[in-house]
Amino acid sequence: MNQQTTPAVSVRHLTKQFGDALAVNDLSFEVAAGQIYGLLGANGAGKTTTLAMLLNLITPTSGEISILGEQYPAGRERILSRVNFSSTYVSLPLRLTVWENLRVFAALYGIKRPKQRIHEMVERFELTYALKTRVGELSSGQKTRVYLAKALLNDPEVLFLDEPTASLDPDMADKTRTLLLQAQQERGMTVLITSHNMAEMEQLCNRLLFIDKGKRLMEGTVVEIREHFGQDSLEDVFLHVARGESL
């Protein structure tokens, strides 16, 4: 298989119907290896459902998902050992210390030399001092960094991020983005990210997919999307789409 041409994530005609509601409607896109790819859309646009299908948390009604050349359900274990996920809305056990949490996930991901890897991660995310602190006693910023440390523990080839900086102040959000970019650039990791912070998406993403009511609205670079909608910023594009002015 040619590594240069095989996309890290390939989605073809993905559809998800919940009863009468069409959450994702015939969505297709590809994420090249090493790209940071943003999923954009208003609340209810289908971003989370799409992300959940990519992580095998929701079974699609129809369509195909290929991640690193493998498909669910047959390739589930192989895919999930090579990817990882972090979300502001998904916590880690709060009563466990940072060390205990990372130790557990190191075992779940089959990390060799877990102690060494955990130390690398806590140093990267400046959490060494908090190693023996319970996650529940950390600030929002510290928790987010622990979630990211967990998400990078297995050195994932594809990282899925759901609003990773949603609960952070601008300073901590900026630091988190910097750490994330560093980690991504060092490994050439593919990142698929959703966020409502348009400035963040402009800063991080190589390409973006705009979704509206489960359908693909536009895909391209930040510049292409801004030009397509005739707006000065992604924020303006978002407002334009969310208020139905594009239709």
Partner: protein
């Protein structure tokens, strides 16, 4: 199944219990209260036991064995609930951990919980009432094994119900098993039950265990028939519980319920 992943998740529960005094106390609180209250009641009633020999042994044996069933079930159900409460379930489901490995880790922690509580209740029964469950000899282990299996099957079934109906159904983890207690022949023989309830009782593995226990305490015939019935029923219920768990998980993935866990 990958033993490292099972061990990893078991470690998660071990860390949790190690760091939580209330959880450790909860392990002991009701079993100790139960055995003390009912032990003293039984001690008092046994003064009038002329017509009912072995009254104390029946009752304390029933209490200790019932607690094994209850702790075994709750150990499995609460392992699932701990992930719901800590909003950690999605982290597990997006890891390479298989559902079977999740269940294996739940069972492992349930075994530890049962072992811990049973040692304490047996010690109290021996120290305060001079009752040693060990008089049942090797049968005790066979009874315990059957009750532990039934507890796992019920625990998996209840976890599936919580997955299906959400956190609002969490009280089932503590309550559902008591629905069967009246017909499980824990403290009285099946023959006491009305005829209409006796077939229901016969379909419960625990009923056969408790009938067998009384048979052993009376020095009667080996309870081979009761144990065979109990283990056969356990096998059927375990298969049913696993099928139900996997079907519920598949349905939860179809309906997007895993994302709404905790609501």
């Amino acid at each position: 199944m990958n033993p490292r992943r099972i061990l990893g998740l078991t470690l998660r529960y071990f860390y949790l219990y190690r760091s939580s005094v209330p959880r450790l106390l909860e392990q002991l609180y009701w079993p100790v209260v139960d055995i003390m209250v009912w032990g003293f009641v039984t001690l008092y009633l046994s003064r009038f036991e002329g017509a009912l020999p072995n009254f104390l042994a029946y009752f304390l044996g029933g209490l200790v064995l019932w607690d094994i069933l209850f702790r075994s079930q709750i150990g499995v159900s609460v392992a699932y609930l701990e992930e719901v409460w800590s909003r950690n379930l999605l982290n597990l489901f997006v890891s390479p951990l298989r559902p079977s490995e999740f269940l294996a880790a739940s069972v492992a922690i349930a075994i530890m919980r049962v072992a811990f509580t049973t040692c304490v209740t047996l010690a109290i029964a021996w120290w305060m009432y001079d009752f040693s469950a060990l008089v049942m000899g090797a049968w005790l282990w066979a009874f315990m094994g059957s009750l532990v299996l039934m507890g796992w099957a019920m625990g998996i079934f209840i976890s599936s119900l919580i997955m299906r109906f959400g956190q609002g159904a969490e009280s089932l983890a503590w309550g559902l098993i008591f629905l069967i207690q009246p017909v499980a022949a824990v403290f009285y023989p099946v023959s006491v039950l009305p005829a209409v309830l006796q077939p229901v009782s016969a379909a419960i593995p625990a009923s056969h265990v408790f009938e067998g226990m009384r048979q052993v305490l009376d020095g009667g015939a080996a309870p081979v028939h009761h144990l065979m019935m109990a283990y056969s029923l356990n096998l059927a219920y375990m298969i049913g519980a696993l099928l139900f768990f996997y079907a519920t998980l598949a349905e939860a993935k179809r309906e997007g319920r895993l994302l709404r866990v905790g609501e």
